[in-house]
């Protein structure tokens, strides 16, 4: 039986000719990532090993992104632990206030991941780098500590679901709508323990931002990883960002997929996931009048330049509705700068938005946009669990940047097709 893309990458990193689903392997790692929430726990665990160095100081990355600039004293102490560790270990890739960004937008931008890599990160959305044709998965702090120590992690080789894409997206429809549609179809455990492998002729119509967004939310279907076939667009992105030479893996023709999902991109409509699970996906035929208090545009899912451009196109010449708090968070310093140079920040501010420094802040209910009891937000983030953005009695509706911007303008959950009169 042939191997999937994921299985081939894992086999290569375990030094094996082939692997099959269910097999337990110890794989070598090309990159080990942590943030200001998960790294302090990993640092504490690492200390128990009594090692005075990490396996490779160029292959460990720490990004201070969740609660920075520090929201309180405890958060500041956590960052100090990370800063101290990275100093002691002479870590090459430590990103602090001033050069940080939201980790899953930052690492590809800095060229730290290339096709064929095996990456673990102590953050569930580490699956984002599958957009580059890498095996990349979220783990916990202990795995991070062990990864830093020995450059390896244990894995159960996953089986896979193939997502066969065809057609191309309609105007104001993006990768976010695609992944919300898919999670709506298969459920929040629809890909549990498995890989989601994306490919097919429809791939050509998806931008890298679309692909990052889709891979990012593979975890919301329970997947171990999401991974895209590598094409010229991927290779161009990798070269443009100065990443290492890509190693392109393709699934064998007889690869064993335990499910194939056919997605016609031309049929995808603006989609919104209602509280309190990402699988509660609805299109506008099923959405009545839902008034909102806040809109958040940003996060590792949708804080990229293309996302800000999509939101700005709708907000240009329009204003957020009275009573709606509009918060825009470029995902990295570079995106922030480019958004400024392109005039997007001006558009946002003129439309009544506040524009924040990069942070995960509101997505996980940390700070910078916490909801009160009974309040509703449309957010381009990735989770709408109970209490995710604040009070357990508040509600988060997940949507694309275009839908979020359209909703900000009207003060209720609104399709971009309505505002742009399509």
């Amino acid at each position: 039986m042939g191997m999937t893309m994921t299985q081939k990458i894992l086999a290569a990193h375990a030094g094996l000719g082939s692997v099959s689903a269910g097999e337990l392997i110890l794989a070598s790692l090309d990159l080990v990532l942590g943030n200001d929430i998960t790294s302090p726990v990993a640092v504490k665990e690492f200390a128990k090993l009594g090692k005075d160095s990490v396996f490779d100081k160029d292959k460990v990355v720490m990004v201070m992104d969740h609660f920075v600039p520090n929201k309180d004293i405890k958060a500041a102490e956590q960052c100090r632990v990370c800063r101290g560790f990275c100093g002691d270990m002479d870590i090459s890739h430590f990103y602090d206030v001033g050069d940080m960004g939201i980790e899953h937008a930052l690492l590809p931008e800095k060229g730290l991941v290339t096709a064929g890599d095996a990456v673990i990160g102590a953050d569930s959305h580490t699956c984002t780098y599958g957009a580059l044709g890498a095996f990349s998965t979220g783990v916990g702090s202990t795995d991070m500590a062990c990864g830093m120590a020995i450059g390896k992690a244990w894995f159960k080789v996953p089986s896979a679901m193939r997502i066969e894409l065809k057609g191309s997206l309609r105007p104001y429809v993006s990768g976010k709508d695609v992944i919300l549609h898919i999670i709506g179809e298969i459920g929040v455990d629809g890909a549990l323990y498995r890989s989601m492998e994306f490919g097919g002729e429809g791939l050509a119509s998806l931008s890298m931002a679309d692909r990052f967004c889709i891979a990012n939310m593979a975890i919301e279907a329970g997947a171990k990883n999401g991974i895209f076939e590598v094409d010229d667009l991927t290779l161009g992105y990798i070269r443009e960002h100065g990443a290492a030479e890509p190693k392109v893996y393709t699934a064998d023709p007889d690869a064993d997929y335990d499910e194939v999902l056919d997605i016609d991109l031309s049929e995808i409509e603006p989609t919104v996931a209602f509280p309190h699970l990402p699988e509660n996906a609805k299109t506008f035929g099923e959405i009545g009048e839902v008034k909102i208090d806040q809109v958040v545009i940003g996060s590792c899912t949708n804080g990229r330049l293309e996302d800000l451009q999509a939101a700005a196109e709708i907000l240009r010449g329009r204003h957020a509705a009275k009573g709606v708090r509009l918060i825009v968070i470029p995902a990295t310093q570079r995106i922030y700068l480019e958004a400024m140079e392109q005039g997007l920040l001006k558009t946002f501010i003129e439309s009544g938005a506040v524009v924040s420094t990069p942070t995960c802040g509101p997505c996980l209910g940390g700070y910078m946009g916490i909801l009160a009891e009974g309040e509703r937000a449309v957010a381009t983030t990735n989770r709408n669990f109970v209490g995710r953005m604040g009070h357990p009695g508040s509600e988060v509706y997940l949507a694309s940047p275009a839908t979020a911007a359209a909703s900000a303008v009207t003060g209720r959950i609104t399709s971009p097709w309505e505002v742009m009169e399509i």
Binding site: T38, L49, V188, V386, R388
Partner: protein, 164 residues
């Protein structure tokens, strides 16, 4: 590995945001995390959980964020074992890595009632509901995972050379 305790029962898709809300993630001290465990799902959990209690749950327990603070909070609350229909994969490996006992057994998770006293022997894969005498069987962990648990978690396994 044998565990006995009384059962606290939850449903499907218990996510790590309700197990330990992010507003408390500015610390990683186990006792501080335990003080807020399950807060957004079940405010009574912290006051009623007893040393040795067993959580049962439905599908996809521990979905969402990779925060190891979630199994740490559960373990520090005194819970000895979590039995679920299925676990989200990051939670699953985190629990193994930190030494919180977990087991997948859909029938047991479905049928065992809140407050029942349960005894689980994970070596033999037998779960007994002592309140009504019903017995359930589950597959033991694969050898590699068993060895991590027997060595006291992943860190200890690396420290003693069991994982290189």
């Amino acid at each position: 590995m044998r565990y006995t305790g009384s059962v606290i029962k939850y449903g499907d898709n218990v996510d790590t945001d309700v197990i330990i809300p992010a507003r408390y993630l500015n610390t990683s001290v186990p006792s501080e995390l335990a003080a807020h465990c399950m807060e957004d799902l079940d405010k009574s959990f912290v006051s009623r959980v007893k040393q040795g209690d067993i959580i049962t749950a439905g599908l996809n327990f521990g979905c969402g964020s990779s925060r190891e603070h979630a199994p740490i909070a559960i373990k520090a609350s005194g819970v000895s074992l979590v039995i679920a229909k299925s676990f989200a994969r990051i939670f699953y490996r985190n629990a193994i890595n930190i030494g919180l006992a977990i087991v997948e057994c859909p029938e047991a998770a479905e049928e065992i009632a809140e407050g029942d006293t349960v005894e689980a022997d994970l070596d033999s894969g037998i779960i007994r509901d002592l309140t009504n005498g019903k017995e359930y069987r589950t597959a033991p962990f694969p050898g590699f995972v068993q060895s991590i648990i027997e060595n006291g978690g992943l860190i200890a396994s690396i420290a003693n050379g069991a994982v290189k």
